[in-house]
Amino acid sequence: MKTETQPHRVQRGSLSRARAVEFTFDGKAYGGIEGDTLASALLANGVHLVGRSFKYHRPRGVLSAGVEEPNALVGISRGNARHTPNVRATVQELYDGLTAKSQNAFPTLAMDIGAVNDLMSPVFSAGFYYKTFKWPPKAWDKVYEPFIRRAAGLGEAPTEADPDRYTNRFAHCDVLVIGGGAAGLVAARKAADEGKSVIVADENPTFGGWMLCDSDARIDGKDGPAWAAQIIADLKGRDNVTLLPRTTGFGYFQQNMVALAERITEHMPNPDPDLPRERMWQVRAREVISAQGGIERPLVFPGNDKPGVMLAGAAQTYLNKYGVAVGQTIGVFAACNTAYAAAFDLYEAGCEIAAIIDHRDSVEQHLLDQAKELGIRIIAGASVAKVEGRLRVCAMQVKRHRQEKQEHFEIDALIMSGGWTPSLHLFSQSRGKPRWDADAKRFLPGISPQNLTCVGLCNGADTLAEVFEEASGGTYSPKIEDDVSTEGGMVGACATAGPDAKSKAFVDFQNDVTSKDIRQAVREGMHSIEHVKRYTTNGMATDQGKLSNMHGLAIAADMLDAPIPQVGLTTFRAPYTPTTFGAFVGNAKGALFDPERRTPIDAWAAENGAEFEPVSHWRRAWYFPRAGEDMHEAVDRECQTVRKVAGVFDASTLGKIEVCGPDAAAFMDKLYTNGWSKLKPGRAKYGIMLREDGFIYDDGVVGKLSDTRFHVTTTTGGAPRVLVHMEDYLQTEFPDLDVSLTSTTEQWATIAVQGPKARDIIAPLVSGVDISAKNFSHMSVVECEVCGVPARLFRISFTGELGFEINVPADFGLDIWKQVWARAEPLGACAYGTETMHVLRAEKGYIIVGQDTDGTVTPHDAGLSWAVAKSKPDFVGKRGLMREDLTAEGRRHLVGLETVDPKTILPEGAQIVADPNQPIPMKMIGFVTSSYWSGTLGKSIAMALVEDGFNRVGETLHVPLEDEIVEVKVTGTVFYDPKGEKIDG
């Protein structure tokens, strides 16, 4: 063991016989012991200076021994991709080879040029963001914002993608206990005794909480660690108890859903890459027991932030748990009794106690007696007036209240305690309202609206006897000796940090907020703590004011001469401690980020060189380039092949809904604009679906299979919302209709065969039906067999050519596609993708809902009045269509556009103006919705929504682009085969 490099290690605590490890801090190698935190190991090596403060770049040391740490934030690196900034050294477990770096210091931690901010502190006082950067306005972009951005945020973010795994687990239990200290362990044992399923989570690697740090108390004769070990062993042996160490309960949500973040590999030197780094637990608990404990408050006095000034309980923890003495000659500044216990322990371990300064005027006799016995001097009714030393405390000046004279003590550490703040975080997150305990000057849990019970110090239990009583419901009352109560303490500034004090006394260490800042905020008109908080940034750092909120509140209340509850308490929000994005992301990365849906025919497309595009969650074949072809050439070829020969297209992603039941046609009549009752079985029809307001919601071809069964198709992206829309109306508006709706999108693979040779291609594969032009006309549907498999065959066209769509049960889709392809290829047909489909339909003026409509387009606007039944008494959207503004003249209509130069392809989304010479901003009268190169026609084509477009056909309009203004002629939307002769082929 490198004890020679750990001069402050003492033979105390559970670590004394553990394995030695090595680590580096700012490039220097140190020795530590397995079980250390980074902070305890640094302190064992006498390193107190660990960071620079955020705003003033003041040298800072380790203040606490837990998650509340505001100062000792370091970067931990396991290579570029595994660099974690702002790790609290007080909770980072040491492992062999750990590499830590200080933050916010340049060039070195000991000599940081940013420290000039400390001298300029008048400039950076409370509210400086709001004042300093107001004028001149021009300086904002060039000076202020870059400055603030550089100054904002601490530490460096990793530059590479996170290579680690994270995972998630849902869990359910009768009782979830947050906090595995004395209260949590006893409460868990009681619940387990009652046969309940119990989960206990504790943020530390070992359960036991303060019991592992206490050297005084004896419970039935056992010391703290021995007592904890026994109850932990008991709980471990039970089937109905799950113990989760290194697991923080950080969020409390509705109906007792509590989120826990479990750190699995953070403490391992070389974690197995297969292990998840963290696991998010989402626990639904019948009952939650919060045993969060409390957090010790610092005292607010000048220089309370210097390295070597530390919480008394932290010093006691380092001593009793980690075997580290935080100094040789130690000053103690107390406002409660627990600091005395820390002082006596340190004395016992061989440290010298310079004096115990007590802010209170009187000290309990038993403490005076004990101090006297040990020869420790107590100065009551006094305050620390000054702390000397730059990178480490070397002396303190002590001033008695109401006296001028100061006394000087040479020290190398100063431990302090302002008392203990019950942790209300989870209680508050559960939407419980805290109540004010006026005697003890603290907030305690009131009533939670959820099934939550707070036990132990977080509920104001100050002694072990009270803790056990609460946690066990009175069933556990062991013999307790030498327990130290956590009662007492003070809130607000010490006597030496009053309104007249000149030096900085810190309230919020992480955000560099001093008592003066709080007072200034109040003077400048901030009277609610919510305003004080935002003006000063008190409590707004990553520690969320765990140490600072109560002091800030008390100082503001003092200034306002108002009781604390009247000034208010800020709300506690999740997460309790910083939680990584990785934990939230969990498994949802890479292929598991979001489902990518593929059709049964996707594999063929991939093998045959398709380029793909995402369409909603689907991956669809976009185009099939041949060697040497770019997208433009491939699409051109595909389009012309379909028009001259034929093409095969995978339309499986089209949404499909089976509407069946005795009232199926009546339901269709309600949901679509046109009529379905009179349609004969075996016929298909194009249908438009409106929203209540009369605007187009979706469209598609619907086949009537029988009087009681429709095969409805929807747009690819619209499938889920159309089913929901239908189901909504069926359940709420038309519950009398006897109809059922079933999504069959994935039941069928859909193969579209389009083009003059479509029938030749499929005819030999189809059996049981005559598909001749005469007997199977356009807009027919039939149930038959294709390749020996039951199929639904449609004669429909989204290209303007003779077309069929073969629907077969999806498992057969791939093979039948191959059989179709085997017929199509020798005839000179091609496989085509979505881009060609788009061009072909645009040549025919067929709209795509969501591209040529935007939720403000009526059927009339889209030129589809023919598809709206005039005679039907009602359908969804009928009343909407009659609204004055929907029937008004001059609405935007869907028209065709031809560029004067046929080679110019308009960008989709481009705005259209009537007069290009008007001053900017011009009046825009519409925009381009679809635009393509049509190889078939040898020119560009476009569709656009244009004001009063139907009455502008033949007019010339203009499309102003970045570097030119394109002249366009308004046309109809059907560019190809306007008479529709091809479709009847």
Binding site: T167, N168, R169, F170, A171, H172, S197, I264, D274, L275, P276, R279, Q282, R284, N587, A588, A591, L592, D594, P595, E596, R597, R598, T599, P600, A603, W618, E658, C660, G661, P662, S706, T708, D738, S740, T742, S743, T744, T745, E746, Q747, W748, L765, C787, G788, V789, P790, P809, A810, D811, F812, G813, L814, D815, I816, Q819
Partner: protein, 178 residues
């Protein structure tokens, strides 16, 4: 005419980890029933369940009640035609969805834990006993769960969600034993 081959969306999707085995389910006939289904017992050969989240049936055939008027029948023995009612049935509707769904059997002592990676439901035996079923979510996919034994679940999803669902099942299986 050459016999047309089936390509299964869950083909080759098996995985084993300590305490969990994932195996793809064989093709099955699946029918979605809506309405008043009492008479369907004649076709199924057994009475359909009357409570949501309950199943009836025996090995190879399950009827799952998924909603107030919705049942899913999964049958690995009979063909599609055997399970579809005739055209005169008016009390309920039946839609063939045999190819819409695909599924896996997730079994082993840690099957429950493996599913907990993405399913927020309480799957403990007392809350989700043998024979219980549910339409629920698994990560970002909708699934139907059916507990076939203390340590075994049938997990079904729509076929295009198979790669995602199987991928997340594998993650769950990997993590269950940790």
């Amino acid at each position: 005419m050459a016999k047309t081959a089936r390509a299964l969306p869950n083909e080759g999707q098996d995985f084993a980890a300590t305490g969990v085995t994932i195996t793809p389910c064989q093709p099955a006939t699946r029918v979605s029933l809506r309405g008043k289904v009492a008479n369907y017992a004649r076709i199924a050969g057994f009475k359909l369940p009357g409570e949501i989240n309950e199943t009836t049936g025996d090995k190879g055939c399950h009827a799952l009640m998924l909603g107030p008027d919705e049942w899913l029948v999964i049958n690995t023995k009979k063909t599609d035609a055997d399970l579809m009612p005739g055209p005169n049935v008016k009390a309920y509707t039946a839609t063939d969805i045999s190819h819409r769904n695909t599924g896996w059997t997730v079994s082993g002592p840690l099957a429950e834990t493996a599913l907990a990676v993405g399913c927020p439901r309480d799957l403990r035996l007392e809350a989700f006993p043998v024979g219980a079923c549910a339409r629920t979510i698994f990560g970002k996919a909708e699934v139907v769960l059916l507990r076939t034994s203390k340590t075994s679940f049938r997990v079904e999803c729509w076929r295009s969600f198979a790669p995602y669902t199987f991928g997340l099942l594998k993650e769950g299986a990997r993590d269950a034993a940790l």
